[in-house]
């Protein structure tokens, strides 16, 4: 499969990078993660999904002659010449356990679990350091004013890598607070899906038991026939579309 080779066969130009202060020459097309592997590292920590969603590979780096702290996900960030990098695969953070069933969907729930929320001085280091461009300070501000819905929305892309916690002068673990807000929003604030409840009821009542029993007994050819003839919901149509038959459900 010529289009599916794994390692870069085309020789790319190499550039110097500094992994924890030590210099390595690596192909300029690699991500930080692949560059470290290229240099001989084998990951145990600091590598999870390799796709930018798990938050295992948070990386902090500086560039030569630049005072600024840069951050990125090792699996997503392409190397740059003269970058000085280290990974932060783990950063301790206070997480408060809670009973979700009895938790009230109000700001007080978060305040009680995380009173340190009010240590925020709005320095914004959290937002600056976030590799996902989440407006961390904005969701913390939303929590302080009790707006769980806004906090859930603003924090939605959080991958819980912990970089915000590593830089917070209030010593908070913002991402754990956001997790509580999102669950309260999804489970207790957003309106429930009634059609879902109804369908669960139909299934429990055995509405489909017979028709499925029949389907299970079908030969492959019979199955193929009903499969081919089944009615297809149009692609661009509205949700309200109804088929000619739907086995006993209006």
């Amino acid at each position: 499969m010529e289009t599916a080779t794994l390692t870069e066969k085309v020789a790319a130009k190499t550039i110097p990078i500094y992994i924890m202060g030590k210099k390595y020459e690596v192909p300029e097309t690699l991500t930080i993660m692949k560059a470290m592997e290229h240099s001989g590292y084998q990951y145990i920590r600091g590598c999870g999904c390799r796709g930018g969603v798990c938050g295992a590979c948070a990386t902090v780096y500086r560039k030569a002659g630049d005072y600024k702290i840069y951050t990125g996900l090792a699996c997503q960030t392409v190397v740059e010449p003269e970058m000085y990098l280290t990974q932060i695969p783990f950063y301790p953070a206070n997480r408060a356990a809670y009973d979700f069933e009895s938790a009230k969907p109000t700001a007080e729930t978060v305040y009680e679990l995380y009173p340190e929320l009010f240590r925020c001085v709005a320095c914004n280091s959290c937002t600056k350091v976030c590799p996902m461009d989440v407006e961390v300070l904005d969701y913390i501000s939303a929590l302080k004013r009790g707006d769980l819905t806004a906090a859930a929305e603003i924090s939605f892309d959080c991958i819980q890598c912990g970089l915000c916690a590593s830089r917070c002068m209030g010593e908070m673990a913002q991402y754990h607070m956001a997790q509580v807000a999102r669950r309260l929003q999804g489970g207790k604030i957003a309106p429930k899906a009634e059609h879902l409840e109804k369908m669960c009821g139909e299934i429990d009542a055995g509405t489909f038991t017979d028709v499925l029993a029949e389907a299970k007994k079908m030969t492959v050819d019979e199955l193929k026939k009903v499969y081919t003839e089944r009615e297809l919901e149009p692609h661009m149509g509205a949700d309200e579309w109804t088929p000619a038959s739907n086995f006993g459900l209006a």
Partner: protein, 295 residues
């Protein structure tokens, strides 16, 4: 002028009775404003207790947000928020060195040099609307209601950000415009004591007792406030204070914005009297300013 509205956290949580009627009143009075879409805590807790520059970051960031939304003026109702924002603004305007440090610290934001004007809601009423126009807009004059105006600390101290010189009597002007009578009230610029409540509770109670005692002596029917902290100590905890002190009687407290709403004849629900003690509601019903509660 493009007017931004900075709400502050407490108004979005516990002090809805400070906010709702106020914003409806602006609509009613034809003042256009825009609530800021992004904002953080004003920073009050810190700037009052400490002097580090880092504590100016929060208020200045809010001013930057206002500037980003194209506002040249930002109005706020909570007197704590007002105080914090106004002091930070003053610092930025007057202290070039600190301003530069703040701007350097917040490189992720546009530079801020004090372009936005911070005003308190009461000043907006006085300067933008005017007492005359307000009086005309009153549909339900609070005739016969004697109101003790309580400024507390943050509207008038420190002097550089005071919304009122001692003899301007802005709250008194406001009360008169609503058709009520301002009480002559000796404790109107005292501290409510709320800041003492945690470290020195007896001191906190003593301070509150002083304010309530003065209100009693002035024969006021009610006490009006502009600060959620004052409301906490003088309103929410009043019963406790009265019980602990000889010779006090209870007096209903309101946010000034609630009486504004009642006088303008706005929907009473907006005034959120349900968040005050029951006496607050009863007084207004007795005086026939509002219909009996259906809450």
């Amino acid at each position: 002028m493009k007017l931004g509205y900075y709400p502050g956290c407490t108004l979005k949580t516990k002090a809805a009775n400070l906010e709702k009627a106020a914003m409806a009143a602006l609509d009613h009075l034809g003042v256009e404003y825009k609530e800021l879409s992004r904002w953080n805590c004003c920073g009050a807790v810190f700037s009052l207790t400490d002097d580090d520059l880092i504590h100016q970051v929060a208020p200045v960031r809010n001013l930057i947000r206002a500037a980003q939304e194209g506002c040249d003026t930002v109005v706020t109702i909570c007197s704590q928020c007002y105080n914090t924002l106004a002091r930070a603004n003053k610092l930025v305007r007057e202290n070039e060195e600190k301003r530069d440090t703040l701007n350097r610290f917040m490189t992720e934001e546009p530079d801020y040099n004090g372009e936005v004007e911070v005003v308190h809601y009461l000043s907006l009423l006085r300067e933008r609307v005017g007492w005359e126009k307000l009086r005309e807009a009153v549909a339900n004059p609070l005739t016969g209601l004697k109101v003790a105006p309580f400024y507390g600390c943050t509207l008038v101290r420190p002097e550089e950000v005071a919304i009122d010189a001692v003899d301007d009597r802005i709250l008194e002007g406001f009360i008169e415009a609503l058709g009520a009578e301002p009480a002559r009230f000796s404790a109107s610029r005292e501290c409510c004591g709320s800041y003492q409540m945690i470290a020195h509770p007896e001191e906190g109670i003593k301070r509150a007792a002083k304010v309530i005692g003065a209100a009693n002596r002035s024969e006021a029917d009610a006490l009006i406030l502009s600060c959620p902290m004052c409301e906490y100590n003088l309103g929410t905890r009043q019963r406790e204070v009265v019980a602990a002190t000889d010779g006090l009687t209870e007096v209903p407290t309101y946010y000034f914005t609630q009486l504004l709403g009642v006088a303008l004849g706005l929907d009473t629900d907006l005034c959120r009297l349900d968040l005050n003690g029951p006496a607050a509601q009863e007084l207004l019903v007795d005086k026939k300013f509002i219909a009996a509660a259906t809450v």
